[in-house]
């Protein structure tokens, strides 16, 4: 031990009672991170975007070719601007500070890490590259509400056009744009609606961990999502996404520059989900509390793990499809243009290799959160925990084997329709397991009628309708009528919105007290939920009818025979809109001035509710040890006692009869 020769002396800190040697501390804890926040991110992002666009426009001599699909100069400028935006924004947020400091030999100290986790930063930590999983969870919640709000607004516009059957409210260009943007915004929003807020805020606490496995990656995934969403929004100002959320080739090749916005959104979003998935999976695999064996792990953890796993293998297909599409567009490669030897079917396969698993990425967390809520409000264990796990495993296993059911009518390979019909219909078996667990848990249970549980009734109801109509669509002959019609649209809204979004609303209501310290207002929340539910049945019930009558999807005008079902559907949509606004009002009102919640208002036995509210920086002062299975509520079943008594009687009877005495 030499005496201190400089202020950059290697020190050590005490972390949870353990002496940990630290690299030298440079300046105040946090270093440059002290000066970086959302504002600097925006600023750097915009500066980089403008600079990149300007350089590109200066460099590109008018490279006009005769090819009609050839990119024009604005395309290059817009693309460069987008790339500049993403890099600049992440730089300005401080996403690269950690690695840069490591490379330059000034690795982060414990004090730096604590600063980055938002220690003593108060409200400011929500606007920074903060690593604490609870801050990231709240940030995700706000971002997701924003995305879903945008999607919802566009949905109202779509329905307005479809309801006004006597006129064209919007130009066809704008109408196609709002359909595509609504679709992709909702898909992105719903993919993160549970894994984002709940997966980040709750799951680490649920498994008894102090943070995620990779806290800085956690912040990275969130801010990449923000960067991606800005790309998506920007696309609306340069021609929009006019080709539906599936942007099939070769139509997408004709699209205005907005298509680049879509492609960059997907490329960045795929990185974000990839990082988030790896982070969640590592956390769940390695950081569960002592004694938390798999059968003592709550079902929501399985659900989030399953969604991450599916995202991890499915998203690369999507990302590649968009990278290839981008090079087709910018550098005249020929992956998808059939006239020059590419293949539209290649694109469709790549797209649906993501597209189908994606619906389970949306559904499974919502189903899992439903199963997490039920035991608490029905005061009993989950009916057949193992069956629920089996259901999730089955869905994950089959999810990658069914994508071509979206291509039955493409003429790609009629012979594979047989096996894909088989695998698709098989999925109804594991999904059925989840339904069984749900109704088994409702069976003979006294109901504590609180908002989170009430949402689950809506989920199971909608899920049944979505499931049954899904079986029609999985059947090739029936799909020959329904494919590309409004029937499909109604079906997937029952799944994604009816089951997915309503489940997420239940989940938000359930975890609201832990996340915000206040109870979500029961009355306002319920009014919102049930208004939206009623509107939902009207909207999509009559959309089923329009589909049965033969109305194609993605059309802004149609024959008079479809008028009535579309009018009803539009009225229903406004009712949904009102209901959702009321629910949003409940969230905002309760967050600001709702009833203050105790640390465990629902009397739950899960670990996340055993922490104090507000949850301290590292959740648990002493790491918990798990000794029992989850959902240990309930009293012995009187009927079982009766049966046992009966069995006992019978055996003694038998013995008597046999004369054994």
């Amino acid at each position: 031990m030499t005496t201190a020769t400089s202020t950059l002396e290697a020190s050590s800190s005490t972390v949870f009672g353990v002496e940990v040697p630290q690299p030298p501390q440079h300046g105040k804890p946090g270093g440059i991170m002290r000066h970086l926040n959302f504002g600097t991110g925006l600023l750097t992002g915009i500066v980089f975007a403008v600079a990149a666009g300007w350089i590109t426009s200066a460099l590109s001599s008018s490279s006009a070719t005769n090819d009609t699909f050839a990119p024009t100069e604005p395309e290059y400028i817009y693309l460069a601007g987008l790339i500049g935006w993403v890099i600049g924004f992440m730089l300005g947020m401080g996403a690269f500070v950690g690695p840069l400091r490591w490379v330059t030999g000034r690795d982060l100290t414990h004090a730096d890490a604590e600063y980055m986790a938002g220690k003593d930063l108060g409200i400011r930590r929500y606007f920074k590259f903060t690593t604490d999983h609870k801050v990231v969870g709240i940030q995700y919640l706000v971002v997701v509400l924003g995305i879903l709000g945008l999607g919802g607004l566009l949905a109202m516009l779509i329905r307005t056009e479809l309801g006004a059957t006597w006129t064209e409210v919007f130009s066809p260009t704008f109408y196609n744009t709002i359909i595509g943007t609504h679709g992709i915004a909702m898909v992105i929003g719903m993919i993160v609606v549970m894994s984002g807020p709940v997966g980040n805020f709750i799951v680490p606490m649920m498994i008894g961990a102090r943070d995620m496995a990779f806290p800085r990656l956690n912040a990275l995934s969130l801010w990449l999502l923000v960067a991606a969403v800005v790309c998506l929004i920007s696309s609306m100002f340069v021609g929009g996404i006019q080709d539906g959320w599936s942007v099939y080739y070769p139509l997408a090749a004709q699209a205005p520059p907005g298509m680049l916005g879509y492609q960059l959104t997907i490329i960045v979003f795929a990185v974000s989900t990839g990082i988030a998935s790896v982070n969640l999976m590592t956390t769940i695999l390695t950081m569960r509390a002592k004694g938390m064996t798999w059968s003592r792990t709550p079902i929501l953890v399985f659900g989030v793990f399953a969604a991450s796993l599916m995202g991890l293998y499915a998203f690369p297909f999507y990302q590649y499809s968009q990278i290839l599409a981008l090079t087709d567009r910018i550098w005249d490669t020929v992956f998808f243009n059939p006239v020059q030897g590419g293949s539209v079917w290649l694109y469709e396969n790549l797209f649906w290799l993501l597209g189908h698993p994606e619906v389970y990425v949306i559904l499974i967390p919502s189903m899992a959160v439903a199963l997490e809520i039920m035991p608490v409000f029905l005061r009993r264990p989950l009916f057949s925990f193992n069956f629920a796990v089996a259901g999730i495993v089955g869905v994950v296993a089959l999810s990658g084997l069914v994508w071509a059911h979206h291509m039955y009518m493409t003429g790609w390979a009629p012979a594979v329709n047989y096996p894909f019909m088989l695998s698709t219909e098989m999925i109804s078996i594991p999904v059925g397991f989840l339904v069984l667990v749900a109704i088994g848990t409702f069976w003979r249970a006294t109901v504590w009628t609180r908002l989170p549980l009430m949402a689950i009734y809506a989920v199971v109801f909608n899920k049944m309708i979505g499931g049954v109509t899904g079986v029609y669509l999985s059947d090739v002959p029936a799909d020959q009528y329904f494919h590309g019609s409004m029937f499909v649209v109604a079906h997937f809204h029952y799944m994604l919105m009816g089951a997915g979004l309503f489940g997420a609303m239940g989940g938000i209501a359930f975890y609201f007290p832990k996340m915000t310290g206040r109870i979500l207002d029961e009355r306002i929340g319920s009014i919102g939920l049930w208004t939206a539910f009623a509107g939902f049945q009207i909207t999509f019930g009559s959309m089923f009818v329009a589909g049965l009558q033969g109305q194609p999807r993605r059309v802004l005008q149609f024959d008079d025979m479809f008028n009535i079902s579309n009018w009803i559907s539009t009225i229903g949509a406004y009712v949904i809109g009102i209901g959702m606004l009321i629910f949003l009002a409940a969230i905002i009102y309760s967050w600001r001035s709702g009833e203050v919640a105790s640390s465990n208002p629902w009397g739950s036995k899960s670990l996340e509710w055993q922490t104090p509210t507000p949850v301290p920086l590292e959740n648990f002062a002493v790491l918990p040890v798990v000794t029992e299975r989850p959902y240990n509520y309930g009293v012995p079943d009187p009927y079982e006692a009766e049966l046992e008594a009966e069995d006992g009687d019978r055996t003694s009877d038998d013995r008597e009869r046999a004369g054994v005495s």
Binding site: L378, R380, S384, F433, A445, T449, M464, Q557, V635, P638
Partner: protein
């Protein structure tokens, strides 16, 4: 509730000894429980309420004149059967929800309820019945679907060219071309006669070669139950035998740009003699 409280219906008179297997005995006892009985009754009631859907769904599909071909008849039968077999299971799930919501005990308020519900962790019999029943149902749907698919594939002439079909020399060939945003129908057997309305003879096999000049379209002959993508650079093939004369619809079922909504036209299914005279009048020359 505790262990000592009597089970709700233990007042039942003990059954006379029979040689029925104990499982039957248990099943009967189970059905006697008020809870189980109410749910069974509810299931039946809801099932009957849902039953009209089987016909309503088909009625909605028939609104513009379907079915006009054996394929569409197959499709409608399938939809009817699928609705029918999913009603019992849907009714059962809805019955559990409704009974739990309206028929069973509730507590409200902010306090965590003092009484827990019975801790049923699993029920082997219930789980087995569900698994077997749902697997059988899925198997039934798959087998039904595969058979119907084979049937409509046969009815649309599968991958066998029209000339090789039974009675092939009588089959009518139509080349369908989609382009933004119109359909063109060409009759190669009739000196390449073209039309933007699809004229078809009744009761005669028609064979479609479908392609596109620009982007993807989808050739949907609604009331005939025909649907196939029109891909640029490829020809997809399908077919149908219209069995009903009348006016029907072609609609594009794949987003194809600005005026996708307007990319529709009519189908005229004519009696064979009327079709022949249409061909002659439109200068189609030789009739086959």
């Amino acid at each position: 509730m505790t262990l000592t409280s009597p089970p709700p219906d233990s007042s039942e008179a003990p059954e006379a000894p029979t040689n029925r297997p104990p499982s039957m005995h248990r099943a009967r006892n189970w059905m006697r429980r008020p809870y189980a009985r109410s749910i069974m009754i509810l299931t039946v009631v809801i099932g009957f309420i849902l039953l009209p859907l089987c016909w309503l769904i088909v009625a909605a599909m028939n609104q513009s004149g379907a079915p006009a071909s054996p394929i569409m008849e197959d499709i409608e039968t399938t939809v009817f059967v699928f609705t029918l077999v999913s009603i019992p299971i849907t009714a059962f799930v809805f019955a559990v929800l409704v009974y739990s919501l309206l028929g069973w005990k509730h507590v409200s308020g902010d306090e965590v309820p003092a009484d827990d519900s019975p801790a049923i962790r699993t029920n082997t019999v219930g789980v087995l019945i569900w698994t077997v029943a749902s697997s059988l149902l899925a198997m039934f749907l798959v087998v039904w679907g595969l058979m119907e698919l084979a049937s409509i594939t046969a009815n649309s002439y599968g991958t066998v060219s029209a000339d090789e079909q039974p009675g092939g020399e009588k089959a009518l060939i139509v080349n369908v071309t989609g382009q933004q945003w119109v359909w063109t129908f060409e009759y190669p057997q009739h000196d390449g006669l073209t039309s933007d309305i699809l004229y078809l003879p009744k009761d005669r096999a028609v064979y479609f070669n479908v392609t596109s000049k620009d982007v993807l379209h989808n050739f949907w002959a609604v009331e005939l139950g025909v649907k196939i993508d029109a891909n640029p650079g490829a020809i997809t093939q399908t077919g149908v035998t219209p069995n009903k004369a009348g006016t029907f619809n072609v609609r594009c079922a794949e987003l194809c740009g600005l005026h996708h909504a307007y990319m529709q036209t009519k189908i005229q299914v004519l009696e064979p003699t009327a079709f022949d005279s249409w061909v002659r009048e439109s200068g189609g020359g030789r009739t086959s």
